[in-house]
């Protein structure tokens, strides 16, 4: 019972923080809200008995990605004088329409479907050995390809962002 109350608190916090990311008037505030939202989703993984993925979420999203985003914000100075302009384009009402429409459709589909597994009493704990077994044995090749992708992407990012001679 206590877990359910906690779940609802976290769900409400995630929804509010995510709304803060897209509705906030300050770009720095958006980035701070994003950290909270990503950490909240990590907490959801703990509710789902996936401790390892929660750890990955906190480390990569809460740590690396948000630091990258804040660094990019500092380097591009969007709040500096002379760069003050509306963060939203003229198409904002249509975007609101599309977002709200998508939400209504998704709600209708989710509530209109009978999902299997609604009779489960409690989630089984996922041992870390199962995660590693699946990741390194059954999905070994995709794992290696994903690591190569990450390496190539980050080398490419360095080359793109590098200060060139005579610039």
């Amino acid at each position: 019972m206590a877990t359910e109350v906690l779940w609802w608190i976290f769900a409400a916090a995630i929804a509010l923080l995510s709304a803060g990311v897209v509705f906030s008037r300050s770009i720095i505030h958006s980035a701070i809200f994003l950290i909270g939202s990503l950490a909240g989703v990590g907490a959801m993984y703990i509710f789902l008995q996936m401790e390892f993925l929660a750890l990955v979420q906190f480390l990569i999203y809460g740590g690396a990605v948000t630091v990258l985003i804040l660094l990019a914000l500092m380097l591009t100075r969007p709040d500096a004088p002379g760069h003050r302009q509306s963060l939203n384009g003229t198409q904002q009402p249509f975007a609101l329409l599309v977002g709200a429409g998508l939400m209504v459709i998704l709600f209708a589909v989710i509530t209109g479907t009978t999902w299997p597994g609604s009779d489960i009493e409690s989630l089984t704990e996922v041992p870390l050995t199962l995660v590693s077994q699946r990741l390194f044995e059954d999905f070994g090749a995709p794992f290696v390809i994903a690591s190569a992708l990450l390496l190539v992407a980050l080398v490419g990012a360095i080359i793109l962002a590098r200060q060139e001679e005579g610039e």
């Binding site: 359910e4 779940w7 769900a11 929804a15 995510s18 709304a19 990311v21 897209v22 939202s37 990503l38 993984y45 789902l48 008995q49 993925l53 979420q57 990569i60 999203y61 690396a64 990605v65 990258l68 985003i69 380097l75 591009t76 969007p78 509306s86 963060l87 939203n88 384009g89 198409q91 249509f94 975007a95 609101l96 599309v98 977002g99 709200a100 998508l102 939400m103 998704l106 709600f107 989710i110 999902w115 597994g117 609604s118 009493e121 409690s122 989630l123 996922v126 699946r134 990741l135 059954d138 994903a146 992708l149 990450l150 992407a153 980050l154 490419g156 990012a157 793109l160 962002a161 610039e167």
Partner: protein, 102 residues
């Protein structure tokens, strides 16, 4: 015990907010943040399905690992492009970076 539908509804809320953000925002970094929200909603869905319907194999959780990997690669590259754009054209507004638009 929270039913599966709750996770799906929460994920739908985050995803819709992300779609709104991508369409409405004009700053490239804000668009990127909204994309991160959408990717997170997808991972949450994957992991919820894995925990409820597939606890013996957790294929969805493995998918989420790959989603996180690709998201990290994407964020690194996209921010490099944003910094490059800012250096060349002194803007991070996606509407002003229309040089490749016919």
């Amino acid at each position: 015990m929270v039913p599966l539908e709750n996770y799906l509804v929460l994920s739908a809320i985050i995803f819709s907010l992300g779609v709104y953000g991508v369409l409405a925002r004009r700053n490239a970094v804000l668009v990127l943040m909204s994309i991160e929200l959408m990717l997170n909603a997808v991972s949450l869905n994957f992991i919820a399905f894995a925990a409820y319907l597939d606890p013996g194999k957790i294929t969805g959780a493995i998918f989420a690992v790959f989603v996180i990997t690709v998201a990290a690669a994407e964020v690194g590259l996209a921010l490099a492009i944003v910094i490059r754009l800012f250096r060349n054209r002194a803007t991070s507004n996606v509407d002003e970076a229309a040089i490749m638009k016919w």
